[in-house]
């Protein structure tokens, strides 16, 4: 079912175009001033230019929510679909067209609530794509409702006396899914770390899940104050197979050397203990990828009809 990509490859070889960041910039975003989404968009555009990705073979698939407006503000192909359902659409795109670079942008409600089933299974399919979960701990676009990642006791319009339940830990959950191959966490207010994490995710062969802690100045500003003002509340996971950013050690003194191939250490580090950990928790490129398992040789229409004729022979009267 794979579409012949020879023509595309040829095109790429002949391609002498150089892409600047501006080549990926769409209309001015309509996010609130101070929203963390701006920072993620900038880092993503930087990544696209840095990797010289062709805009026409790059697809951003999103769900519904503030962050899911993302594709509109890029000059690549985009698919702004349904709440919670970005991952199935991306699965269809990648299954049919493994030649495309696929990025998925979801919010926390999108990914961990209404689309939670797809999150589990997309992780297990382990298709080669980057999945960004922009986590502001709240439903923003619908105006301040508790999400699964809203911390316990934090009030919202739907749970005004505070969230009843402990927040869901998306890193811990993803690490628990069979065939997970890349799990990372970063924060949009540390642009060098964000960029380095996106880059590592892009280069990973498989489903690269990145939770991006993202400020919502309207509804959850207090939740991010500590992380913004107190670098000691953050611990960086560093490793040559993960993310290492020169210079960050001057601000973020808490650093732990963590080998991302160690799933047990990753799960330990993902547990809640008051510290916010950023970096690559887990990475394993040896895990099977669904689009590779299902890859088939190209068959011409004539061959197809000949085989169909043989198939009909089996049903012949």
């Amino acid at each position: 079912m794979t579409i012949p990509v020879n023509s595309l490859l040829q095109c790429a070889l002949d391609d002498e175009r150089i892409f600047e960041r501006a080549d990926y910039e769409g209309p001015i975003p309509r996010w609130c001033p101070g929203c963390g989404d701006h920072s993620v968009l900038a880092a993503t555009q930087r990544l696209l230019a840095d990797e010289q990705l062709q805009p026409e073979t790059t697809v951003f698939v999103s769900g519904i929510g503030c962050s899911s407006r993302f594709p509109h503000y890029l000059k690549t192909y985009g698919f702004h679909g349904l709440h919670g359902r970005a991952l199935p659409v991306a699965t269809g795109v990648k299954l049919h067209r493994p030649d495309l670079d696929v990025f998925v942008v979801m919010g926390d409600g999108d990914c961990t609530s209404i689309g939670a089933g797809h999150w589990v299974h997309a992780t297990r399919y382990n298709m080669d794509m980057v999945a960004l979960m922009l986590d502001n701990n709240i439903y923003g676009l619908t105006k301040n409702q508790t999400s699964p990642t809203t911390p316990q006791n934090y009030p919202s319009n739907t749970q005004p006396r505070g969230s009843w339940l402990p927040a869901l830990n998306p890193i811990e959950a993803t690490l628990g899914i069979t065939n997970a191959s890349f799990v990372a966490q970063t924060a949009e207010w540390i642009p060098p770390h964000l960029f380095a994490t996106l880059k590592a995710a892009y280069h990973h062969k498989g489903f690269a899940f990145v939770r991006i802690l993202q400020r919502c100045p309207k509804y959850t500003a207090p939740l991010f104050e500590e992380g913004l003002k107190n670098p000691d509340s953050i611990e960086l996971l560093v490793h040559e197979d993960g993310v290492m950013v020169d210079g960050l050690e001057n601000v973020y003194k808490n650093q732990v050397r963590h080998d991302p191939s160690d799933i047990h250490a990753a799960r330990r580090l993902a547990e809640e203990d008051g510290l916010t950990r950023l970096g690559v928790f887990f990475r394993d490129e040896s895990r099977p990828r669904y689009e590779e398992l299902r890859r088939l040789p190209v068959i011409t229409a004539k061959e197809k009809m000949a085989r169909l004729s043989e198939e009909l022979d089996l049903h012949a009267v």
Partner: protein
């Protein structure tokens, strides 16, 4: 009931000829019949379905008309010897092509009296049916079984059934240790003798049916086949001969789900996304077996919603994909269908309808998804709904649906049903055409300035861009959007884009022909049907026309848009009535009046679209329509019409 262990002949038909034994006295009679219906029914797991399938295939290959219907309990292996747990296959054999399952069964092979009771109680059997029944139950060592047998016998005594007891288990034990694993092939042998079936063809079909099993199993099955054949030859006093008129054209035989799967291949579709659901799933089984040979992937998604999303994602990235489901799954896919309409993404959805609402009757036929298929998506979501009427249609509809989806950038819902899905019928071998296959996506650069929804103001049609096309980068969105796919914040844009999406459906309608009337062009009554009921309706029309009644029928293949010319056709008949397998209130029932009567779904649609006073006759019995029942309903309505006139 007439119970015989030593068999006696009972005249049963118009023509019979006696075949003498070596000693000169009549050994058995050969009944020459234009058609006959037989069913084989057993506990689940005893293989009656396999027996019926092989008989059906052999019969088709011999050039007879055939229609098979599966008798399926909802469970995998319900308790043995229970009336509701019967599993099997019903085969209608004819000289002429058979277009439906017919009326009551005339010959039954039952592995125990309880499954037979189940069939008896649902009125499946002709009053004078002949029954070949396993003989171990009357003298069974288990007292509860003996008394159950006695009780069933009392129920059968009120009928005219002729029951012939057959030592199936006793004979099978000479070949196999577990008769539950062998009776079906013994029975196949008996039926091969009764119906003059070609034993070589039987052996070929056994080899095909058990191709994944050992040669030893094949040999054992053939031994059982011969055993059954021999027993019937020695003991039965009747054979049935139904002349075959083999088609001069090449024919193929398969069920509707297989036809859908092969049709999808012929259409050049390369991705089928599904989630297991009865009765749609077997289409994916067929495809799962062969699709990869055609470069196609059957993706078993994590849920029904994801199956729709994957198909839409694949369509977006290249070729039209399809998803296949049944009622409950269609409900789950609703939001994605609305999205596909909004972003004008070609998509084919096959809904193999079953009884509803909710889980309903998972294995049984119904036509209750029509209005949900057309109107089920919140918001205005114009799209196409088609319904194949025959197994042959199930193949070709996929080619047409794919092409419409692509040309009109729209969703096409194909309404099959459990009757078509599992019914087996021979049909003219499709003449494969390369033009059916979807062309590879055009990845050439998009001309400067062309917009992703550059709607033609008259037709609403526009050209679709595919990722990989330089210069075409845009973001599809389920939000209201303008021609450039930019989120629309002006009300005028929504009005215009809604118009454009709706206009396409009218344009499609302008390309359709008015449907052909079956029977005279005008008259007292026009019966209108859709989907799998076509064969039964037309057979009923033949019967009442033979009685001199002025009745015709019309069968609709498109439900959205409706085919053109309906008002003009309806106007030529005194009365118009739909026949459908869905629920409607009976006129005259308590509380029911003209204003509150809930009508059949097509009737509802036709009344709204044509303003004709369209009546309906519908049933939800969990089974295909019987021609006789339709003919009776027609007679009753005609009398009403005449009464009105008088």
């Amino acid at each position: 009931m007439q119970l015989s262990r030593t068999v006696t002949t009972k005249a049963q038909t118009k023509t019979a000829r006696a075949v003498p034994s070596d000693h000169g006295e009549p050994r058995y009679q050969v009944l020459e019949l234009p058609e006959h219906t037989v069913e084989i029914v057993s506990d689940s797991g005893e293989g009656a379905q396999k027996c019926g399938q092989i008989l059906g295939a052999v019969t088709a290959k011999m050039g007879n008309g055939v229609w098979t219907v599966e008798i399926i309990p909802a469970e995998i292996e319900p308790p043995p010897r229970s009336p509701a747990g019967g599993s099997g296959n019903r085969v209608r054999i004819g000289s002429e092509p058979v277009t439906n399952w017919g009326d009551e069964t005339q010959l039954v092979v039952a592995f125990n009296e309880q499954v037979l009771l189940g069939r008896h109680r649902v009125g499946a059997l002709a009053d004078d049916a002949t029954i070949l029944l396993e003989n171990i139950w009357a003298d069974h060592p288990d007292e509860t079984i003996r008394s159950a047998w006695e009780e069933a016998k009392r129920e059968f005594e009120k009928t005219n059934y002729r029951v012939i007891e057959v030592p199936m288990q006793e004979r099978c034990l000479t070949v196999v240790e577990d008769p539950r694993r062998g009776k079906n092939m013994f029975v196949l042998g008996m039926l091969a003798w009764i119906y003059h079936r070609d034993l070589d063809l039987c052996r070929d079909q056994i080899a095909h049916a058990f191709r994944k099993k050992s040669e030893e199993m094949y040999n054992r099955n053939v031994e059982l086949l011969d055993l059954g054949y021999g027993w019937a030859e020695e003991n039965l006093d009747f054979r049935i001969h139904i002349a075959a008129r083999p088609s001069t054209e090449p024919m193929v035989v398969m069920n509707g789900n297989e036809a859908v799967a092969l049709g999808a291949i012929a259409a050049g579709m390369e991705l089928a996304a599904m989630y297991p659901i009865t009765p749609a799933t077997s289409a994916s089984h067929e495809l799962g077996d062969v699709f990869e040979k055609f470069g196609g992937v059957v993706h078993q998604a994590e849920d029904e919603i994801a199956a729709a999303g994957v198909a839409i994602g694949a369509s977006y990235a290249g070729k039209v994909a399809y998803t296949i489901t049944s009622g409950p799954g269609l409900a789950l896919k609703t939001e994605f269908l609305g999205l596909a309409v909004m972003i004008e993404m070609p998509l084919v959805v096959v809904d193999v309808q079953r009884g509803g609402p909710s889980t309903g009757l998972p294995t049984k036929v119904e036509q209750s998804d029509l209005l949900a298929a057309i109107f089920g998506q919140p918001g205005d979501a114009p799209h196409v709904v088609m319904a194949p009427a025959t197994i042959e249609d199930c193949f070709h509809v996929m080619v047409t649906a794919r092409r419409i989806a692509e040309t009109f950038r729209t969703v096409v819902i194909v309404l099959s049903d459990a009757n078509l899905a599992t019914g087996v019928q021979p049909f003219r071998r499709p003449e494969l055409d390369l033009a059916w296959i979807a062309a590879p996506p055009d990845l050439s650069p998009v001309p400067e300035g062309l917009k992703p929804y550059e709607w033609d103001a008259k037709t609403g049609l526009s050209r679709r861009f595919v990722p990989g096309q330089p210069g075409g980068m845009y973001t599809v969105t389920g939000l209201a959007h303008d021609e450039s796919s930019r989120v629309a914040y002006s009300s005028a844009v929504h009005q215009h884009s809604s118009t454009m999406r709706s206009r396409k459906i009218a344009v499609l309608q302008s390309t359709l022909e008015p449907p052909a009337v079956y029977g005279d062009d005008s008259g007292e009554l026009l019966v209108v049907g859709w989907g799998s009921t076509k064969g039964a309706i037309e057979e009923a029309i033949d019967r009442v026309r033979a009685d001199g009644m002025s009745v015709s029928s019309l069968h609709l293949s498109f439900l959205s848009p409706l085919e053109p010319g309906l008002k003009e056709i309806f106007g030529r008949f005194k009365k118009v009535m739909t026949v459908e397998i869905n629920y409607s209130d009976e006129p005259g029932a308590p509380y029911i009046n003209e204003e509150n009567r809930r009508r059949g779904q097509l009737a509802w649609l036709l009344r709204a679209q044509t303003l004709f006073d369209v009546d309906c006759w519908t049933r939800v019995l969990g089974e295909p329509m019987r021609p006789r029942a339709i003919a009776d309903a027609i007679r009753q309505r005609i009398e009403t019409v005449e009464g009105d006139v008088a």
